[in-house]
Amino acid sequence: MTERVTVTIDGAQVSVPKGTSIIEAAKQAGVLIPHYCYHPSLPSPAVCRMCLVEVEKAPKLMPACVTTVTDGQVVHVNSAPAKLAREGVLEFLLANHPLDCPICDQAGECELQDYTFQEGRAAGRHDDYPKRYNPVEDFGPDVLYVPNRCILCTRCVRFMDAVAEDGVLNVSERGDRATIGIFPDRELDHPWAGNVVDLCPVGSLISKDFLHKARAWDLDRTASVCPGCTQGCNISIDTRDNTVVRLRPRANLEVNRHFMCDEGRMHYRWMNRGDRLEAPLVLEGDEHHAVDWDTALRRLGQMVRGGAGTAVVLASGRASLESLGWLSRLLGRYQLTAAVQVPMGDEAPLAGVPGLALRAERAPNLQGARVLGYDAPWASALSAAGTASLVVLLDVSLTETEAAGLAGAGNVVVLGTVESGAWTRAGLVVPVTTMAEEHGTWMNRDGRVQRYQQAKAPPGMAQPAWWVAAGAMATVDPSADTPTSAAQAFAALGAHWPELAGLSYQDLGFSGRVAASAMAEAVR
């Protein structure tokens, strides 16, 4: 048992492990100590001086980020001396800081704005002294550096040095001439470099992709999980007017700490595609006709009830546990061959965080799919589909050759988002939601089940694939217990797959839970 100490912070007494910094202990006490250079995932230099607090019996104000608590310590964060010190720091920071708020992307989510509004002077005393000026620099590929706004917190340099272990940034010059620098003919092209934009407390390091795109206060932010690979980094999907404008990492100390890779970060435009399936389609003769959901679900139920023999499911690696599970149950009377499509790419670890990498398997639910029995190799499932009684395609795109290989199959059902290359043969085509348009769960490579939430409205009549499968089951067996919400759809999985037994959405919360027995094997 680690030794614990008791400390009082702004009147609240807390017990924390010995060696905890005051700034972390304060979080336990519900007190946020304003700070800039401190970050829980970076080494602490204590240079911004914003976190200076009053500690009884200490001769000077102490920096909370590097001062460890001692037993019986009494700390004042909001006493007059501490507040005056912070007011002083803010005034010094604003001395050379340009009044860029009207044109700065950080406005609305800027820590300099926030603290100045909260505790800064009402009016600056810097008068009309000219402010230091340096031109904007392109650090590439996605990052711009605006030196005029930089507060020299050095989070970016420390991230690149200590976490990315790619020391391309430095502090150049000295005194009030200091800026962040990059060596000529180098770029911020490390696969995880985009995190410096999030780390920057002000609008000094900014994303070209997001430049002048949307105002922070216009954004809706939804807690989600990155659909890029099996790592399962926690993210926030930021939307404006039902359009995804940016992905940002969300803190999860067990999975991705505070970071996400650039590939995951930049790969969101597909969530905004307009060329979507919007209505269920039934094949009559040579043509597809739009029908309502009742008709579509009954048709699907007929196909399933009447069938026997082999069925093949070819599913997207992004399909949720709920969708894969209920689809599998719908096809329970078949000899089922089920596979998920897993695009492959290069792995890119983040050296300073063990266990964190952009994974080669670019499928967020690969592990979950395996647990649910979707473990056939893709190629053999494709070839089995050529002679199967029923083939179900769940949000996958096939090449012309692959689609031609389905010619011999009995029935082909497409649960799709966009055109899949196999419509012409499909007796039934229904529109389903993407992960951005539904609630769902995935299991990452470490067996952690994590929820993602709905970030935007689905197009047309699109529904989650689990809803389609459950709805078809209900037409076959009206007495069956079918879910009316994603939470119910998830909770029901445990009865059929013991790895998920006893888990509910409430258990998963916002940081997920490692399923009891589903330790990753073949995924790694």
Binding site: P45, C48, R49, P63, L93, G175, D176
Partner: protein
């Protein structure tokens, strides 16, 4: 010796006895003058005994902080098995201070001997001598002397046949006042930007290359052989003022005196005696106006405040300033105080390392305000603003460069306010044109 002037009878020449004597530079010359006897003696003692002797002498750090040297040495861990390091701080960049260069260029072996004894006392086998990059003559002289010392067995794997190893490495700085701060110096030796470090950890626990380290000033180390030769009690007895300030101190006197130079006085000597007797007083027709006694990072003293001031650590504090490095800048009545305070602020703004917000922005901002005042464009509220910014710059940063910038500003406004008012009111013509 008040080189280039001959020693004044009221001086106590110990360290400066051979300033100006070129023969003292060589190994043999130093031995002839009594050198290296202390090192031989030290090697026969235990490290603990040496530390006790230095403790008993009352020697305090001569670089400016005045921390008891023996006590500092005793902080080094014993029997920890880690390499220990001694760093000799020869960065001497504090405005007004020019004593360490004299020790190095006239009596390099005095310093080498002191470093060797200190290294042995703290269990260090290697001593880095960090000499500022501009000190080209001390660098040459020291390099030559170190080579000699190796050749003659005073340094190396088996010093004077004792079986002890003592190595000295000379490390050249490259132009940064802040590297005189002990933790910044360690960073500079390690091949980093000269940024001061947060403490804890303290150098004795984790310093240079994360190993136990002691950093001492040149003058401090140069005093050590004399303490060993003549005993700590002798050194302790050199005291004319407060018993906590013992030994001799090199005072670097510069500015408006007849005979600027280094003067070695017994602690507790009166400042008036130094300025008017030893240094020959003011230039013809001039009167004393102000003195900054400790290098520029201490409060300015008025002429009146110097009158009863004794030169030791406590004595100068009692008169409203600090002894610091004892780089004494003397200003007569021709001095434009506002101009000199601006020039000092400009110095600090140039030397700020840029880590701490208050220092990085505050040194530059206060400089700009003073510049505007000197250009005749200041506002009455500027003085309160300077005092407010100075308070925000004091006691809130990793090192004290920020406080050092504030000290002349605050003391200047407090004690020479009429000179500021003269610029503000337009009574005095601008001294600068605005850029």
């Amino acid at each position: 010796m008040g080189y280039p002037h001959p020693s004044h009878p009221k001086e106590t020449p110990v360290l400066s006895k051979h300033f100006g004597d070129e023969g003292a530079r060589t190994f043999d010359g130093w031995v002839q003058r009594g050198g290296y006897a202390a090192l031989r003696k030290a090697l026969e003692m235990t490290p603990e005994a040496i530390v006790e002797e230095v403790k008993g002498s009352g020697l305090r750090g001569r670089g400016g902080a005045g921390f008891p040297t023996g006590l500092k040495w005793s902080f080094m861990p014993k029997g920890d098995g880690k390499p220990h390091y001694l760093v000799c701080n020869a960065d001497e960049s504090e405005p007004g201070t020019f004593k360490d260069r004299e020790i190095m260029r006239w009596t390099p072996h005095q310093l080498i001997e002191g470093c060797a004894i200190a290294a042995y006392a703290i269990g260090a086998e290697r001593c880095y001598v960090y000499i500022r990059g501009e000190f080209t003559e001390p660098l040459r002289v020291m390099q030559s002397a170190v080579a000699e010392a190796y050749a003659r067995g005073a340094l190396g794997a088996d010093v004077f046949g004792s079986g002890k190893r003592i190595d000295v490495v000379i490390h050249r700085g490259a132009g940064a006042y802040i590297c005189g701060e002990e933790t910044a110096m360690m960073n500079s030796i390690e091949g980093r930007r000269g940024n001061p470090r947060i403490k804890p950890p303290f150098p004795a626990q984790a310093g240079l290359f994360a190993m136990p380290t002691t950093i001492n000033n040149v003058e401090t180390l140069a005093s050590v052989p004399h303490i060993l030769n003549r005993g700590g009690a002798w050194y302790k007895g050199l005291c004319l003022g407060n018993p906590k300030s013992t030994g001799t101190k090199l005072i670097s006197v510069c500015g408006h005196v007849q005979r600027p130079g280094n003067y070695e006085i017994t602690m507790g000597t009166s400042m008036t005696e130094l300025l008017f007797d030893m240094c020959g007083g003011m230039k013809p027709g001039r009167t004393l106006k102000a003195v900054i006694p400790g290098g520029s990072s201490v409060p300015i003293m008025t002429a009146a405040e110097t009158e009863s001031c004794l030169l030791d650590y406590e004595g100068v504090v009692a008169c409203g300033s600090m002894l610091g490095s004892a780089g004494m800048i003397v200003m007569d009545d021709s001095t434009d105080m506002v101009y000199q305070i601006w020039r000092l602020a400009r110095f600090y703004a140039h030397e700020s390392c840029a880590q701490c917000t208050q220092c990085r922005e505050g040194t530059a901002w206060t400089t700009k305000i003073l510049e505007r005042i000197l250009a005749g464009k200041g506002k009455p509220s500027d003085l309160d603003l300077l005092l407010s910014l100075s308070e925000n710059m004091t006691g809130k940063t990793i090192c004290v460069l920020s406080d050092s910038c504030a000290a002349p500003i605050v003391s200047g406004i407090q004690k020479f306010r009429p000179e500021f008012d003269a610029y503000l009111s337009g009574a005095r013509q601008p001294a600068l044109a605005m850029a």
